[in-house]
Symmetry: C2
Subunit: 430 residues, 2 copies
């Protein structure tokens, strides 16, 4: 890997998401060598992936080069690689570009889509956890409309314009809202020779309400907003399979659909080597103590989505969102400094900043500790918070321009099939 051996301890961080980056920033002034490894050379701002999928934003505006985050820190090294295995006994990791020793290792690998072992759904449904996946979904949606134009067979045409989003959490709700807005504002103009009113957006939720992690008020209001936009909400319906054409459920209900998005669950993206049975808890997350330390491995830590701090306040761990990851990253940064100074560690205390979801223009819901609010004000807060947490001035400026434009023009202009999803990529070399 060509990383020099320094006299100070080496901290290896796997993953440049919210957790990994906030940890790296905390360590920037400490006397340590930091090696950050990620399979992408960029940080992804996951909360806005659904806007990439629906043509509202370009992918480059929600991604940020990791090297640029680290450029002002000394003793920081970035390496573009996949980590294949951890060898705790040798205090080293194996990666696609060689192996590397560590003094301390931090697993900040985040989460991946959880298909709950259903191979057929995994094969045929779209996921939306990365930029390439979001671009694939964008292409598929547009390709299906182009395809719908070409057929006179009503049944086939309807299936091509029928969207099924499985999972009523924030991702599913935001995607359903964005699709409903496209149906209203973009499709009738783009496809005048197609009866786009027949396009359907179905949001299928296994539980009895959408946004189950939020307040009852938020959940009800989100449902109302979505229905106003024309989204069909199906609660208490569990999807059992999808063969690429028909979605089946535990009930008699089926959907003929060419576009199924699986937003029904995520699970920790663990790495071989420490995933001993006793460590993994619900959701494939690694059980850690209140210092984010993995039991029996005092020099290995896990933060963010992949980590689960089980205690009486959070029997199932913290929510798999940006805030716990950022806060755990910061706390661990301080704790690693304390560890090196021989001081006692400080347990992680989560400061719940609330949660929110946007449904469409002027429509969002927000829960904070003291206030729960919905509608226009929540929507403005949502935008402000997302702009604030985006990394980089350029990204903020470009997202802002896009949002202003989309708001004024009722439009989504990034509806380009840059790399077709259905077709063979190889032909696009030329």
């Amino acid at each position: 890997m060509n990383i020099p051996k320094l006299s100070c301890p080496r901290i290896v961080i796997i993953g440049g998401g919210f957790g990994g980056l906030s940890l790296a920033q905390k360590l920037s002034k400490k006397d340590v060598q930091v090696v950050l490894i990620d399979k992408n050379n960029y940080h992804t701002f996951q909360p806005l992936l659904y806007q990439v999928s629906t043509g509202g934003l370009e992918p480059d505006s929600i991604a940020y080069p990791i090297r640029k985050v680290l450029k002002d820190y000394s003793n920081f090294y970035f390496r573009l690689a996949d980590v294949q295995e951890i060898l705790p006994e040798e205090k080293s990791i194996l990666t696609t570009i060689g192996d590397l020793n560590y003094d301390y290792l931090v697993i900040a690998t985040g989460s991946e889509t959880n298909f709950f072992g259903n191979k057929e759904i995994e094969k045929n449904a779209m996921a939306m956890k990365s930029i390439p996946q979001s671009l694939n979904l964008r292409s598929l949606i547009l390709e299906n409309f182009e395809q719908a134009l070409l057929t006179d067979e009503m049944h086939e045409r309807d299936a091509l314009m029928n969207f099924v989003i499985v999972g009523g959490g924030p991702t599913g709700v935001e995607l359903a809202g964005a699709l409903a807005e496209i149906k209203k504002g973009v499709l009738p103009k783009d496809y005048p020779d197609l009866d786009t009113r027949r396009a359907q957006i179905n949001l299928v939720q296994s539980g009895d309400c959408i946004l189950p992690g939020m307040s009852k008020k938020a959940s009800e209001k989100a449902e109302e907003f979505l229905e106003k936009l024309g989204v069909e909400i199906w609660t208490n319906i569990r999807v059992t399979s999808y063969d690429g054409k028909v979605v089946t459920t535990k009930t008699d209900l089926t959907f003929n659909s060419a576009t199924v998005v699986w937003a029904a669950g995520v699970m920790g993206a663990t790495i071989k080597g420490i995933d001993a049975e006793e460590l993994l808890v619900r959701g494939n997350r690694i059980r850690v103590n209140e210092f984010n330390q993995i039991p029996n491995y005092p020099d290995i830590f896990a933060i963010g989505d992949v980590a689960c701090i089980e205690n009486k306040d959070t029997p199932r761990g913290h929510p798999m969102m940006a805030q716990p990851a950022i806060q755990q990253g910061k706390n661990l940064g301080e704790n690693l400094a304390r560890l090196l100074d021989g001081k006692a560690l400080k347990p992680f205390a989560y400061k719940d900043k609330g949660s929110m979801a946007t449904i469409g223009r002027n429509k969002a819901v927000a829960d904070t500790k003291n206030f729960k609010f919905q509608g226009v004000f929540a929507w403005f807060v949502w935008m402000f918070v997302h702009l604030f947490f985006l990394i980089g001035f350029r990204n903020r400026a470009i997202v802002f321009v896009n949002w202003v434009y989309n708001y004024i023009r009722f439009d989504r202009e990034a509806r380009l099939i840059i790399r077709p999803y259905n077709r063979d990529y190889s032909q696009f070399k030329d």
Copy 2:
């Protein structure tokens, strides 16, 4: 293809580039049915592709949805398809989504990279004529720097940081200048553990000067600007092959390079069916008369890069650039209306608006009919003209934000490897 048969004549346009779109716009108020076919659902603003390759712009900001251009016109149809063959006898075309009859056919397919039959160069060098190609080049450049970090073998490391751009026309010059700016402004910060001063940018030109299509003054000044930026210019050197590692030339000179960009020539992108030997002239362009009509095919026309109007003023046809395409599209739009009214056609008269090339910040060269100027003013004119010709307010705003940011910060922030070039794409489905 599911296009209704109307009582008015059907004009089929193949290609949504500068020529095809300007023709479509001219026809918007005529009593005709227009079908525009393109293999992409977007128009590409090719003059800025080099900025996508070098991380200065996101691809979405130089592409524009074709459907959006046509949305306000009645009787306009867009179809996403590859045209495979023209059957002039049957007045129809064969495409990947079926066949279609036409009353008038316009070939506006533009140009593609000309490797002059050299299969080895075609296989190993990068081209930059489309957005996917430009993104591939961006990824390759960044991947090679990541790779350079991992090797201690000096020779290999140098090859990974050694760029060879073949062709000293505007594309080659602009790309070389942009790479030189990245070398100065971005690489030392991004790769502190790499001696990026050893990175080399070579511009290889077979003729005795760069920008041969422009004035002597422009050519000399461009050369001076590039040398100031540290680009090595090699004139009178003809590249003979590239095996993926070594570039060979007609002289003893060779280059060890992992990144070779072929910008040495373009040729008309013709379609099977009318490419009879006698019609194709130099550069694989279709010989047309002064009305852009193809000899012996009174109902088939060709415009833009793929067409060659041979007369005494332009014995080799008009330059393969945006302006002749736009102007021919407009003229043909008027001529088709005249044809339908039984009036005499108007021969195409090219109004040369001049040409320009940008080398770097505050550095551009411009030739117009009456003035030739270089430096800061030319650079501002270049930016203004390019913003003006970009389609869409959003695109202009976003390109403008990027340029201001890049100018102030000496940065290029879109340096993201979104779809790795070297690796297998299939693994990025998940």
